[in-house]
């Protein structure tokens, strides 16, 4: 199994990254402020307009280190990708299936099953852990209805219908989401999902977490030779990593939502970490983004048992493993794509 290495997050926009031997050197106004050996790194994320030398980009591409440029607020700008991993055969299969709505639906179905299943177990886990704080009967009822939806999705062979079920399930889940926020209720609440821009603290964090996750998934997909931009559930749209969004569906809840909720419940973040702009847009402060990234890294190191492989892996490797399993299905080794079914 692939090893999970460190990610380097560069949050100051006024630094320059360069290559020195086998090291990445971080400079600020020509002064050296950091130095990290490349062989310890799996990914480098820069926020804001940090520069990077072409030789560093080349070294990253060569060593399979993903070098990602994001805006200050975490919106994706660019990724340095080396020579595309061989495997033309795999990509062509991916494109063929993507062109066929019905074939796409059989794979997309499993992404959605994964998503609803995981969200159901998020609710179940909450009723177990916080039975005194949440409306258990409402949660149980929602969980039951999600189970029913999963059963129905099982026989769907149509993309639009799938999206319909997914939408329904999302509404049910979002309705009770707010109850899982158990601390700092006056500053953190969830009344529904909004983005571009996020209008409250919770949505600001969710957006950031989804961006990080989408990047991890896209990198993992490219790493096993798949094209992150050609999806099955999400159809092609210029500049959209559709397949990354597909695979991410099943991970949004268990990976990102739970992470955000725990930051609030453990009071890692508080209201001072957010700034509301004049138009209502809420953005995270530099300080809070650093805390967020630190916690995100820690989360990646946590171990879980992969439900299908039965192997212990770290959370950070889940995108890689799912990508690999998807590739194995496309190549005809596995009868279906095995979604990550968390409990």
């Amino acid at each position: 199994m692939k090893k999970l290495l460190n990610s380097l997050f560069v949050t100051s926009p006024d630094v320059y990254l360069s290559l020195n031997g086998e090291n990445i050197v971080v400079k600020k106004e020509k002064e050296r402020i950091g130095r990290v050996p490349l062989h310890n790194l799996e990914a480098v994320y820069t926020f804001g307009y940090s520069g990077a030398s072409p030789s560093l980009m080349g070294a990253c591409a060569e060593k399979d280190i993903s070098l990602v440029f994001l805006t200050k607020n975490g919106r994706f700008l660019a990724r340095v990708i080396g020579e595309s991993k061989g495997n033309v055969v795999l990509r062509k299969t991916q494109y063929r299936i993507s062109d066929d709505e019905q074939l796409s639906a059989t794979i997309a179905r499993n992404f959605i099953i994964g998503k609803i299943y995981n969200n159901k177990w998020i609710l179940e886990r909450a009723t177990r852990d916080y039975s005194l704080r949440i409306d258990v009967s409402l949660f149980k009822e929602t969980s039951k209805r999600l189970s029913e939806t999963i059963q129905e999705v099982g026989s769907v062979r149509d993309l639009d219908l799938l999206r319909g079920y997914e939408g329904q399930a999302a509404i049910m889940y979002n309705k009770v989401f707010d109850q899982m926020i158990l601390q700092q209720k006056e500053d953190f609440f969830f009344k529904g999902r909004n983005r571009r821009p996020p209008l409250d603290n919770v949505n600001a964090m969710l957006s950031f977490a989804y961006t990080l996750l989408a990047n991890d998934v896209a990198t993992a997909l490219e790493g096993v030779g798949l094209d992150a931009y050609v999806g099955f559930l999400h159809r092609d749209r210029p500049g959209r990593a559709s397949l990354a969004l597909d695979v991410m569906e099943e991970l949004r809840g268990v990976y990102a939502d739970r992470f955000v909720i725990s930051l609030i419940n453990k009071k890692v973040v508080n209201n001072n970490d957010f700034v509301a702009k004049e138009n209502g847009a809420v953005i995270m402060t530099d300080q809070s983004r650093k805390k967020f990234l630190k916690a995100w890294q820690d989360k990646k190191q946590e171990k879980i048992k992969h439900p299908y492989l039965g192997e212990k892996i770290s959370w950070g490797l889940v995108p890689h493993v799912q990508s690999m399993l998807l590739a194995r299905h496309l190549r005809g080794d596995l009868d279906e794509y095995p979604p990550f079914l968390w409990k």
Partner: protein
């Protein structure tokens, strides 16, 4: 087989194919490891073929390193580590030389002789390329094993040539269909460098449909 460069397979693939057909397909059909193979081969050859353009002459021997070879019959191409051209009246004339020579391929291997005959088949394939390119007969070759620190003489036999032809036919048919054979697990999986890509253990797992069914009914 017509002379179509595009369709040529790598001679070194014989080793992978003999080891595991799936491993060969992952490398040569799916290019899962192409980069590594290329790099490793590059380094491997580079070491001994520092100066492939300098011919070495020792008494009655002309030593040529990193010689690219090809065979239309096999639809294969590759590089011989070393080919020794031995002066011989019954040999063939070669470029830039007045004498006649018999070519003798020498392949360098890191370890010691393997249990299977993949090294021998690779050498045989090289000999077949030389025969085709130079219109001559190659009756013997050598494999230098680094661990033994000496070379082992290998007769180029009719039987092995038949085997090589048959293997390349099979490889071409997989290649043309872009087919990757399913996993056949075995003790060889333990020493396979593509374990992480192949995931042989997966084959012993339950079907995915059963997995989903079990999980959602739990």
């Amino acid at each position: 087989m017509d002379s179509n460069e595009e369709a040529d397979l790598l001679l070194s693939g014989i080793q992978h194919f003999q080891f595991c057909k799936r491993q060969w397909a992952l490398i040569h059909v799916e290019q899962q490891w192409e980069e590594n193979v290329r790099t490793v081969e590059g380094q491997h050859i580079h070491k001994k073929a520092d100066q492939p353009f300098i011919k070495e002459k020792r008494k009655n021997k002309l030593i040529v390193r990193a010689l690219p070879v090809q065979s239309d019959e096999l639809g294969a191409t590759g590089i011989c580590d070393v080919v020794e051209f031995i002066e011989d009246k019954d040999g063939v004339p070669i470029q830039n030389s007045k004498e006649s020579y018999v070519p003798v391929p020498v392949e360098y291997k890191r370890g010691k002789p393997k249990k299977d005959n993949s090294d021998i088949l690779q050498l045989t394939a090289q000999a077949m390329c030389l025969e085709e390119m130079l219109l001559c007969e190659v009756s013997v070759g050598y494999i230098f094993y680094n661990e033994l620190k000496h070379r082992v003489e290998i007769p180029i036999t009719h039987l092995n040539k038949v085997k090589v032809r048959q293997m390349f036919r099979e490889m071409h048919s997989y290649f043309d269909d872009r087919h990757t054979p399913k996993v056949k697990t075995g003790p060889h999986c333990k020493s396979c460098s593509l374990q992480n890509v192949c995931l042989p253990e997966l084959m012993k797992k339950q079907s995915v449909s059963k997995y989903i069914e079990r999980k959602i009914n739990e």
